[in-house]
Symmetry: C2
Amino acid sequence: MRTVDPAKRRARRRHIVNAATELFAAQGFERTTTAEICKAAGMSAGNLFHYFRSKRAIFHAVFVDDEPEDGVATKSERLAAARAADDPWTALLDTVDLLAGPAAEPLVPALVMEAMIQAHRDPELEALLSRDNDEERSTLTTLLRKASASGQIDPTLDPDDTAAWVMALIAALYTSAATEPSFSPAGQLPTLRLILQRFLRPHATPVPEGPRP
Amino acid sequence: MRTVDPAKRRARRRHIVNAATELFAAQGFERTTTAEICKAAGMSAGNLFHYFRSKRAIFHAVFVDDEPEDGVATKSERLAAARAADDPWTALLDTVDLLAGPAAEPLVPALVMEAMIQAHRDPELEALLSRDNDEERSTLTTLLRKASASGQIDPTLDPDDTAAWVMALIAALYTSAATEPSFSPAGQLPTLRLILQRFLRPHATPVPEGPRP
DNA sequence: GTCTATACTCAGATAGAC
DNA sequence: GTCTATCTGAGTATAGAC
């Protein structure tokens, strides 16, 4: 009897996901038809739906089917390393680079944008993405707290709020790249670092107003 | 014979747009059906399409049908006033408030997000929005240039790049509000101002490295 | 190939302005 | 009374998931 070859099946799934990824990035989820995906992947509708239960499932796979490659640390591992690093400020800058880096890849900003939108309407995707998101934000919060304790950043900043803003600034890199053709994420990364540096590093305390004892 | 009453017709269009706005904000453009809009507006499909040529036209109207109210300055007028203001730094902060303010309204962040997405796929909407966008950015560029000349901000910052980043930071307020339920735009506006202040205000010039004559 | 979902249409009913 | 803006809702054509 014929048995399934898991490696072959995975490869076939990846082939479909790769084809679909370009379409989703260029046209978005709703405007990409399964017929287009079939054509791009070179297969029939029947065959496509043998590998994925729905168009939605293909979209989800774009964001989770990343096979770990040997010898390369995963994002999770690198975040854990940052949390354990000796110098929290350097680790913070490294983490920002880690999170902002993919914005320079051609399809990624559009896909991230689309994922944000779709997460609104798709609780399963929402859950999928928020796991990643929580890990990123909690790493930043940890680093901000440590850097604050060691006097490397302004201690008046609230670590939770500030982590949310660091995430927002990184997200801005993606959305700007997705919406403005002239915006180059690679070229603007140094400016992002500059903004963060000036925002976070300790400042001379302003003289408090009002009468003093 | 019966004649058209322009005021009544406008009011009816607004009624439809208001009903549709909530649906577009909650579900997005593609997932909102014309049948739903009809139901929400309390009218038949035939009547709906008597007022709008297409579903798309309703979506466009969400962003352009803002009637100027008497006694209240329009955004354009306020931007022009800022460009002509005496104190460019104060005018810059005011302009940031003006552009960031709507993020505090409940439906706006989701709508702005949806507009960004749809603009990708709809050249007419793209043109519509980029007119607004260009006016906002060029106002910021002008103010940055003036503030730079008068020593109010760091002269090493490029006005065009910096204006793009100020826009990106404001956009981050909208996207964060749209995607993170715990993020309060009104509460975070002071932090946005703080980030901008620290980013833009003049800094002590670092001692240049290398040999000097 | 099948079948559902949905943007839009049309033939006609109602009613207000002249 | 006539004419036409406004409105109805069943109907159609088509797209697109499966």
